[in-house]
Amino acid sequence: MSDIFSFNGAQNAGWAQPEPILPDSEVLAIIPSSMLRASPPAWPRASEPELVRHYTWLSRRNFGIDTGFYPLGSCTMKHNPRVNERIVNLPGIDRMHPLQPEHQIQGILSIFYEMQEMLAICSGMDQVTLQPVAGAQGEFTAMRCIQEFHRERGDGHRNKVIVPDSAHGTNPASASMCGYEIIEIPSGEDGRIDLDALQSVVGDDTAAMMITNPSTLGVFEPDIARASEIVHSAGGQMYYDGANFNAIIGKTDPGLMGFDAVHYNLHKTFSQPHGGGGPGSGPIGVKKHLSKYLPSPLASRREITEHDGEGVGDGYWYSWISPENTIGKVQQWHGNAGAVVRCWAFYRRYGRELERMSEHAVLNANYLRFKIMNPDKEVLSKVHAMPSDGAPTDFVMHEFTLSMIDMKDKVGVTGKDIAKRLLDYGVMAPTLYFPMIVPECLMIEPTETESKEVLDKFADDFLNVLTEDPEIIKGAPYTTDVSRVDEVWAARNLILRHPGNNSESN
């Protein structure tokens, strides 16, 4: 095991830096002696060769999209084009400060403006802000705008937000952070929105409904426009969780469905690399009546005049504007600009053909589902129990859910066991146990960037797992760097940091 704290490279020197521009005696005199640190932090002492080995070793113990198929439902793990990484190393983004004057940032402002416009077009919204840095922060930001909208209209008493029981956990968590009370409505037996249940909870206290469409079950909610009407006629606002936006671009949009606000997960739909959990980017779009509450500032433009500077050559001068009744800031600067630039480069690759991207995401999901659910007779005869659909439907959108409950009932193999066994086949496991309304749920999202061959192989492997000796499946995984880890042990012992340099490393 490689332990970064065990290195002793370049002792008392470390990574070489230029000397301070004042002598030590003068530097130490600046700081009151009572405030001086007695001993430096016990950080590793890695020389460059040691550092490279350590992190290369770690990287080989980590699974990414580059390693293999990553069907993690709801997370849209598509290929990340590498020119995007090259672009964000340009000094015109990497070496930029968010408070530089407008004439120094015309290029980045023009990219911000183009992204605001593109996202508004794709979603049927009127105005977009790029400031929220994650989907959850986008949700929070939009709920804050909706909150101010209600308050200004004298509707501040509206204190309830409705979410379906199949919603992402961030929806209720974000609304709750705004001070809202959460009303969870059960889904219908087919996993779809229950309009009667919705009708029975809306009222004068409804602030908003938060919902994603296609739903977390991967199916399109055909009654979405009716749901919007119900919420609107009660005086509430409709919020679209854009986690599943990859399924619908060019086919429909949240504006057409009757939504007032939407967040986008740029890291999903537009491929900012997920980086082990972040960074993301969670812009929001709103209809006109909410736009004056958006965070500040927004990118804007007007025709260039002779008094302006050079500009970027498109005939416009770009500037920041502040919405009239802005809620202020949710991130301290202008959001994850690096992610915005990467996603700009990604969107430019498709342009008006973004619709093809959604088509292929949906094609791949349906194809994979078909291959799993329709094995040939020989395979079918060996499978202990077939999965069942998380929701009854003819076609799914960009992802689908499978219940492994029959495997559990018949041979005692859980969804988790199957997920762990799949790791031995060299793929990432699907999302496990979400949405919670599907028993023993596996949620599979292949994305548009996987070839037919990869999908065929995954379907074969998946079905093969279902034929294996149940005891083998329950003991998986076997081929990974560690066998199944004990999460309970971690929570009981809470060893949350390295004990220090003097301890024995292994």
Binding site: Q17, F63, V133, A134, P279, N336, R348, Y350, G351
Partner: protein
């Protein structure tokens, strides 16, 4: 379009499913919500064309490295070791997601556990998470965390105290995050030296939390803060926002009673990058562990008793606790924190000390050079500064900075943009890369402005 491996094979795949058209797959979208027209967007581009446009657009920006720059305001014009970018963009790190499947994610899990250790060492508190979005959201969520821990016993219920010198963008983030819980935000006053009025700070005793910054937004190191915990008592959380680099020289808040330490991690790992992605540091004592936000990695063992790592304390989080979660945070800034850990590992204990000395030296040298100019004064002449300090100039500082900009120097932040009462002040930011020649350039454009415009 070169990103779609099944382009041209649609019919082959559809026919296996017994279908004729991709449109069949969208048949569950009712006509009433179908989009009628194609997206009014430009034609697809090749990688080569995208690179050309990116070079043109981003090349038209003026970057900080192209001229002497004294604009910091909480971000660092740092130098990031070359290996950081090279290693962090290894595909296994770059293209992975949250390590829910620990067995195939030991690399990122161990790297984050090591990161937690480095942050814990830096601030001298036992617990760290694997990052927040930025310094401001760290501060805001530290406050809401402290409220959950202390409100029951608090004498001043639903009340927190915040230094009046917290910059307006951070105050705005804090207000957005706390307003939902009906929290009453009170301000703590500062004296004529820019120091917290430490005796008056006793007023916060019995509230849920106090949030101060060390150094504060004017770059002032405030010795008095080391006594603050004694004034506010054990049942009020002391939350300290830090300049992470300063802790190479300055006593870590964990040594003087801080319960939660937050700050901007950006100086370690990534350039200023127009303000994001950057990452927030969040560290605390054991008391806050079950109420803190963000992901945490713990050591554990596998079924063969082999050492392993896994995400832990997940029951605080939104995907399990839903509306009762301690935070809504899901995506965070893990990759940037990883870059930070690489940078910290290369610096080592000696490197962080040297780095802090370089910043302190640049700050002092710039300060001395500027006050030698007739007409330029320090707003707080008796303060010790790290990275930033404030000068008063004879005139409107926005116009002054704009003049100096036209002379090729980014002279800092006109403080009137933050507080209208400070419209003749400039926040000067220095860093380890500030050179003697940068300082000479700044001094000469300040002199030129005074001679040509003011006089």
């Amino acid at each position: 379009m070169d990103q779609l491996p099944n382009l041209g094979r649609e019919h082959e795949m559809l026919s296996i499913m017994g279908l004729n058209s991709i449109e069949d797959l969208f048949s569950n979208i009712p006509e009433e919500v179908r989009r009628r027209n194609p997206l009014p967007l430009p034609a697809p581009q090749s990688e080569e064309e995208i690179w050309r446009d990116a070079q043109h657009l981003l090349g038209s920006n003026i970057d900080l490295d192209s001229r002497p720059s004294f604009l910091s305001a909480g971000l660092s014009r740092n130098f990031v070791p070359t290996m950081v970018g090279m290693l962090a963009t290894r595909g296994e790190f770059l293209t992975s997601y949250t390590p829910y499947q620990a067995e195939v994610s030991q690399g990122m899990l161990q790297a984050m556990w090591e990161f937690q250790t480095m942050i814990s060492e830096l601030v001298n508190l036992p617990i760290s998470n694997v990052s927040m979005y930025d310094a401001s959201t760290s501060a805001a969520e530290a406050i809401t965390c402290a409220i959950r821990v202390h409100n029951k016993k608090a004498v001043q219920k639903d009340t927190i105290y915040v230094s009046e010198l917290v910059p307006p963008h951070r105050m705005s983030v804090i207000e957005n995050y706390v307003q939902g819980s009906g929290i009453n935000v009170q301000l703590l006053k500062h004296d004529g030296n820019g120091h917290l009025d430490i005796d008056a700070a006793s007023i916060a005793n019995g509230s849920c939390a106090v949030y101060v910054e060390q150094p504060n937004s004017f770059g002032i190191l405030d010795e008095g803060l080391m006594e603050l915990k004694g004034k506010i008592g054990v049942n009020t959380a002391l939350i300290v926002g830090v300049d992470a680099v300063s802790l190479g020289l300055v006593s870590p808040p964990g040594n003087w009673g801080a319960d939660i330490v937050v700050g901007e991690g950006q100086p370690f790992g990534i350039g200023p990058t127009f303000g994001g992605p950057i990452y927030g540091i969040f560290a605390c004592t054991e008391k806050y562990i079950r109420q803190m936000p963000g992901r945490i990695v713990g050591q554990t063992q596998d079924t063969n008793k082999k050492k392993a790592f896994t995400l832990t304390l997940s029951t605080r989080e939104q995907h399990i606790r839903r509306h009762r979660a301690t935070s809504n945070i899901c995506s965070n800034e893990t990759l940037i924190a990883l870059m930070g850990a690489m940078h910290m590992s290369l610096l080592g204990p000696d490197g962080i000390t040297l780095l802090a000395k370089r910043v302190a030296a640049s700050t002092e040298a710039t300060k001395k050079a500027l006050i030698s100019i007739e007409g330029v004064e320090l707003l707080f002449p008796h303060s010790s500064n790290f990275r930033e300090f404030v000068i008063k100039v004879p005139g409107d500082s926005e116009k002054a900075v704009s003049f100096m900009d036209s002379e090729g120097v980014i002279a800092g932040l006109p403080l009137g943009l933050w507080w209208t009462s400070h419209s003749s002040c400039i926040l000067i930011g220095c860093d380890e890369r500030t050179s003697s020649s940068d300082i000479s350039s700044l001094v000469s454009v300040v002199k030129k402005w005074i001679e040509e415009v003011v006089k």
